[in-house]
């Protein structure tokens, strides 16, 4: 399914770059350009995308592509988003499941208390069984005794590790992206290139565009551009993440999510691949620790 969008917008050089980075993105034909420029608008940007695994239920999601090389916002174009990723039922409980799993799977309990056998002493019967009029006792370290051992206390190391089923993890990501888009907290930029490495630039940018205050930038490269890396490093609530690290907790933890075009392409490709692979049933089998 080919979706074509004609947008009257400014057309800087960076947008051409954006179109090149997005592999399935093509530009408009000259006739369409003339049609819109006759109204006195600048030449439009036409971005059309071939969405893989298209849906036929009429759902449609679109987003602006912005720049971040100026504080003032410029719309560079508009692109289609896949409705199976950006328009799914916003299941808050699935999001909670993902967050709960992310918090727990790394935890190991290292607290251990001594039981009655591990306490020092207590091997001797404190007093004889009969004849004293006292309660029968076998050890001074029994759990009912002061300074006795602890019954059913925490034992270390106890791992809290468990694996959320892969399709719940994927659904969590899709829910979270849908929620971010619905709440206008998802922004798509052409690239993460900013002109200066001053942290104030990013703060001004977020202020001007009503982002954040906390912002998560996601790109598909391991190494972010130098300027934004230096600037974001000095602001604790602005972080940069490679696309393979995208997770539900971090998206919730930041108010605004900023994706580059390349990151968006990668997210869609990867999630759709997992949604439509033929061995889905095998993937959904119970996770065994021995399989790693």
């Amino acid at each position: 399914m080919l979706r074509r969008l004609v947008m009257g917008a400014l057309r800087p050089n960076s947008c051409v770059q954006a179109a090149h980075r997005l592999s399935t993105t093509t530009e408009s034909s000259p006739s369409e350009v003339e049609q819109y420029s006759s109204d006195g608008f600048p030449p439009p940007v036409v971005l059309s995308r071939n969405l893989e695994f298209p849906t036929n239920d009429g759902r449609k999601r679109m987003a602006w592509v912005e720049n971040i090389d100026t504080v003032q916002e410029r719309k560079l174009g508009m692109i289609d988003l896949h409705p199976d990723i950006f328009a799914v039922p916003p299941r808050i409980d699935v999001i909670w499941n993902n967050v709960h799993w992310q918090k727990l799977y790394r935890k190991v309990n290292l607290v251990q208390v001594n039981n009655r056998a591990e306490m020092i002493g207590g091997g001797r019967k404190p007093w004889q069984q009969k004849g004293l009029g006292r309660a029968r006792q076998g050890s001074i370290r029994a759990p009912q005794w002061k300074h006795g051992g602890i019954a059913h206390g925490p034992r270390a190391p106890t791992t809290r590790f468990y694996m959320l089923p892969i399709h719940t993890r994927l659904y969590g990501l899709r829910c979270m992206l849908s929620v971010k888009l619905a709440q206008d907290d998802l922004h798509i930029v052409n690239a993460l290139d900013i002109p200066t490495n001053e942290p104030s630039y990013l703060e001004d940018l977020a202020e001007e565009r009503q982002w954040g205050p906390s912002v998560l930038f996601v790109d598909d490269t391991d190494v972010a551009p130098e300027n934004i890396a230096i600037a974001a490093d000095q602001i604790k609530h602005m972080n940069i993440m490679p696309v393979y690290g995208l997770n539900v907790y971090s998206m919730l933890n930041h108010d605004t999510l900023v994706l580059t075009l390349a990151a968006l392409e990668r997210i869609e490709k990867q999630i759709l691949y997992f949604m439509h692979r033929t061995d889905r049933a095998k993937l959904a089998e119970k996770f065994k620790t021995s399989q790693v």
């Binding site: 759902r59 799914v88 409980d93 909670w96 709960h100 619905a182 907790y249 919730l252 033929t278 049933a281």
Partner: protein, 293 residues
């Protein structure tokens, strides 16, 4: 566009507070409290009741009826299920399911269909360890079966054979012994093991009659008799048998495996190296003779 409930939910989210770590919650009842209570009286009985056999969690052995003589001792031996665990099983696949797989591009009907193609759809479950000996193609959806296929199954009945041949397709029933089934049901795992492709063994005694029967399109039946029975079945079910000799896919429709062969295009004794993408064939005359015979 039909209005969906969650479209409304997503549009409501626009005006609701931002979803964050602080305002998400699981479904009510999802988080179950620990079974063992804590505190002064929390851990008293652990829900097992007061005193007696139940409180001591004395679970009796299966079939034990306290003071009575258990039923399995009261009655004499009745071998209803004698040898049941040894019987061959054929997990079913209906013609309707097969048609759906073809329509949704899970199976390519332009190529011969065998157990490998069916397992690769990911929609058919089979486990040779559970005495599963292959596909039983059932007649559910036979009326709407429209595909022209060359299919090899392990068990089929007369209406199924008629439904396939009515469309100009061909069907064979073929037996595979368990080692061959392990290879067929998970081809990648088998080829990665580096073992030579085994030769297919002949069916067990009680299955010989089925797989040599031309009416059942057995793979050991005489081809001339099979073509005669195709005609007989067409007349019995009242359809005109399409001439596969004039079909453009004649080669594909009449492709059959050798009775010793497991995979199309691969012979027993060959080793497939997936990494170097080469096939190693036995050169020792003794081995060649073994795999031929």
């Amino acid at each position: 566009m039909a209005t969906r409930g969650y479209e409304k939910a997503l549009s409501m989210l626009k005006t609701l507070p931002r979803v964050g770590l602080f305002n998400i919650a699981p479904n009510p009842g999802f988080v179950k409290p620990s079974k063992r209570g804590r505190g002064q009286h929390g851990g008293d009985k652990h829900g097992a009741g007061n005193k007696g056999s139940k409180a001591r969690q004395n679970y009796m052995r299966t079939g034990y009826e306290t003071s009575l003589r258990p039923y399995y001792l009261s009655f004499t031996h009745e071998p209803y299920y004698l040898g049941h665990h040894l019987k061959r099983q054929y997990p079913p696949l209906s013609l309707g399911q097969l048609q759906l797989m073809i329509d949704t591009d899970r199976i390519n009907a332009e190529k011969p269909i065998d157990l490998v193609q069916i397992c690769n759809t990911g929609l058919y479950k089979i486990n040779p360890q559970c005495k599963h000996y292959g596909v039983h193609l059932t007649d559910e959806g036979a009326d709407s079966f429209k595909a022209k296929v060359n299919i090899e199954v392990q068990w089929a009945t007369e209406p199924v054979i008629a439904a396939v041949e009515r469309n100009g397709g061909t069907i064979t029933t073929a037996f595979f012994d368990p080692p061959s089934l392990f290879a067929l049901t998970n081809v990648k795992k088998f080829l990665e093991s580096g073992e030579p492709i085994p030769k297919r063994m002949i069916p067990p005694e009680d299955a010989i009659s089925y797989y040599t029967d031309p009416k059942m399109r057995g793979y050991l039946a005489d081809p001339d008799q099979v073509s005669w029975e195709r005609l007989v079945l067409a007349q019995k079910y009242g359809y005109s048998l399409p001439k596969i000799e004039e079909d453009p896919n004649y080669e594909m429709l009449t492709l059959r495996k050798d009775p010793r062969q497991i995979f199309y295009g691969l012979e027993p004794g060959w080793v497939v190296n997936l990494i170097d993408r080469i096939i190693l064939k036995p050169t020792d005359p003794e081995l060649q003779e073994y795999y031929k015979g």
